[in-house]
């Protein structure tokens, strides 16, 4: 769209995106030992896609991440989080009692928090993408009402 002629922006963002994604994964999976966790990782991971959407257009972003997929991920994250709780119920503990998830409470706590944080990461990632697309789609629809993809998208999100 608008950024077609901005060579520098396109090249630099393409170079940056893999590192942003990698950093997000680090924050996600190292969150139980260092600073970080699911929420931050989800935001960082989504920011790579937001950058992609800003430079290459919302339509391209939506081909990579269609709205059915983001909604599925939104739901999957919550289900994963609550599912860990239900798993611990089934294994004889209280809701979200990670101790019972493995034979040894220390490992149980470890698995529990990693899974729960992954659930948070998924939902936050999909949430940020959804919010961005809703707003960006609205702007595109205001500027150029004939673009059907964006206009239709805002109606759904």
């Amino acid at each position: 769209m608008m950024m077609r002629r901005k060579m520098v922006l396109r090249v630099v963002s393409k170079l940056l995106i893999p590192f942003i994604l990698l950093f997000a994964l680090y924050v996600q999976w190292h969150g139980d030992f260092g600073p970080g966790g699911g929420f931050q990782a989800g935001v960082i991971f989504a920011s790579a896609f937001v950058l992609y959407g800003l430079i290459f257009g919302l339509g391209t972003l939506r081909t990579a991440l269609p709205s059915w997929l983001t909604r599925l991920v939104l739901a999957a994250g919550v289900l994963l989080y609550a599912g860990v709780g239900v798993a611990s119920l089934m294994l004889g503990g209280n809701f979200l009692d990670y101790d019972v998830l493995a034979h040894n409470p220390l490992h149980g706590q470890h698995y529990g928090i990693i899974l729960v944080e992954f659930g948070v990461g998924l939902t936050v990632f999909a949430g940020i993408i959804t919010i961005f697309c809703a707003f960006a789609g609205r702007a595109a629809a205001d500027v150029n009402p004939s673009e059907p993809e964006q206009a239709g998208d805002t109606g759904n999100d």
């Binding site: 919550v78 599912g83 209280n94 809701f95 759904n156």
Partner: protein
């Protein structure tokens, strides 16, 4: 069965909470409706198990994640909490079967599954507020239910639903923020967020300015959420422009749960401080409650949109609940609690009947309802039945609530208050009569005299709820016993 008994306090929250994202996965309106209805009915049975368990074995304490209070998050369910859970899940189990036809008429098809997802989230949030024993967790569930509510209101077919939702969003967020500010101050003074722990730590610091300000923030915050006069301005538009099924559900549950949260904070968290007495705020709360009773009813008399008329009547009815709290003896308190239950029944059935009207004639304006007694006899009869309850005619639930309230007021020797309760009922007679007069004594407009009743899937749930409103008005032993024992528990402080 032991599994159920052991985890019942958390199951009533996580069942609807986990069912909600599954609606999004289904992406199909009819399937998510079936699923949501199944879950709501299942949850209703769980809440019956919960209340039986609480009535026989006493208060349930459940440590989330195995972390004991006051360090971990604790769910604590006593009689009041269990009764509120029962109200929410019962109303949900009746409104969801009703919702299908009504939502199909009022919401675009591609958003149906999102509406059911939001309904389930709202149920989960409201039930969470009722079972939690952690003051910060209360805020989290308040936000879960409120955010779902904003979305549900914005789904209304009228474009004004968007501004109504935005106004509620702003005021509701303000209310929730005030609550967190107050809670932050309590945390600063005590270092705890657990309700029972707070209750034991607060008396030591009760005469500090911080705690006074904290209580003020908390009361104003929840005053906004429960639409205490004069903080009710969001309510009429939100109820008027939301889809009918949503209005029925919210009017029957949302404000009641906020009242419950306020009761919980004043009588459990501040239980040993007795803020109504020791801070001398009882007259202020009482004046606001009575002002709400009269202002709500007076404004209701002049409304031309029946949905809005009932919304203002809700402001008045919230006044009765707060009045029960502010009088502060056991019968009045029981009156306030029982009115939460009774008002859910009558307002729920009235808004559902209005949903039937909207389904058939596409409007709930007073002038369009002329001759409704001939055109839709069953629906019109349901509106009259619900109206009787609002007035407080004997043999209806409204009478039971007012009986307890008047008894409480007279025990304290506050006969002017008792008189004011009677007087405000007369105002209810006026606004209910206006609707009855238009429905039965005016002939329908030319061209729409033919008889056309709403489908059975709308009428049956309406009549089930209305039937309950009469049933518990004739035999109030069940609700009366629970409310009385709940009131005594609450007035006994945190012990």
């Amino acid at each position: 069965m032991t599994f159920l008994a052991e985890h019942i306090a958390v199951l009533v929250v996580i069942v609807p909470l986990m069912a909600a994202p599954l609606c999004v996965v289904m992406r199909c309106g009819v399937a998510s409706w079936g699923w949501a209805t199944l879950v709501a009915v299942g949850n209703f049975f769980l809440s019956i198990v919960l209340i039986q368990h609480v009535m026989t074995n006493g208060t349930i304490v459940y440590d989330l994640g195995g972390w004991e209070g006051p360090w971990g998050i604790v769910y604590r369910v006593d009689e009041v909490g269990a009764l509120v859970v029962l109200i929410i899940s019962a109303i949900a189990a009746i409104v969801l079967p009703y919702a299908k036809e009504s939502i199909e008429r009022e919401i675009p098809k591609e958003r149906h599954y999102l509406a059911y997802c939001m309904m389930l989230l709202c149920i989960a949030g409201l039930i969470g507020m009722a079972v939690t024993g952690d003051a910060f967790n209360l805020f989290v569930f308040l936000e879960v239910s409120s955010l779902a509510t904003y979305v549900l209101i914005a789904l209304g077919s009228d474009r004004r639903a968007l501004t109504a939702a935005l106004r509620y969003l702003i005021l509701g967020t303000l209310g929730a923020t005030f609550y967190v500010i107050g809670l932050g101050m309590l945390y600063m003074m005590t270092g705890s967020l657990n309700m029972t722990d707070l209750a034991s730590l607060l008396p030591a610091v009760q005469n500090t300015g911080t705690v006074h300000v904290a209580l003020a923030f908390i009361v104003v915050g929840f005053g906004l959420k429960l639409a205490l006069f004069p903080l009710h301005v969001w309510l009429p538009n939100a109820y008027t422009f939301a889809p009918s099924a949503v209005t029925a559900f919210l009017a029957a549950t949302a404000t009641k749960v906020a009242v419950y949260a306020l009761i919980r904070l004043i009588f459990t968290v501040f239980g040993d401080v007795d803020p109504l007495e020791s801070y001398g705020v009882r007259p202020a709360v009482m004046v606001l409650a009575i002002a709400g009773m009269f202002a709500g009813s007076l404004i209701a008399i002049y409304q031309s949109n029946v949905k809005r008329l009932l919304a203002y009547s809700s402001v008045a009815q919230v006044g009765y609940m707060i009045l029960g709290i502010s009088i502060g003896n056991a019968p009045a308190m029981a009156g306030g609690i029982i009115h939460m239950f009774n008002h859910a029944l009558m307002k729920g059935s009235l808004f559902m009947a209005l949903g039937c009207v909207f389904y058939v004639i596409g409007s709930v304006k007073l002038e369009d309802m002329a001759g409704l007694g001939k055109r839709m006899p069953l629906t019109a009869a349901a509106i009259v039945g619900g109206g009787f309850s609002l007035i407080g005619v004997p043999l209806t639930v409204g009478f039971i609530s007012k009986f307890y309230l008047v008894q409480g007021a007279l025990t304290e020797g506050m006969w002017p208050v008792a008189l004011l309760i009677m007087l405000s009922s007369l105002l209810a007679v006026i606004y209910v009569w206006r609707v009855v007069e238009v429905m039965y004594f005016r002939s329908p407009a030319i061209g729409c005299e033919e008889r056309s009743e709403a489908p059975m899937s709308l009428l049956v749930p309406t009549y089930v709820l209305l039937g309950a409103a009469f049933w518990f008005g004739i035999d109030a032993t069940f609700t009366g016993d629970i409310a009385m024992s709940a009131a005594q528990t609450l007035l006994g402080g945190s012990k």
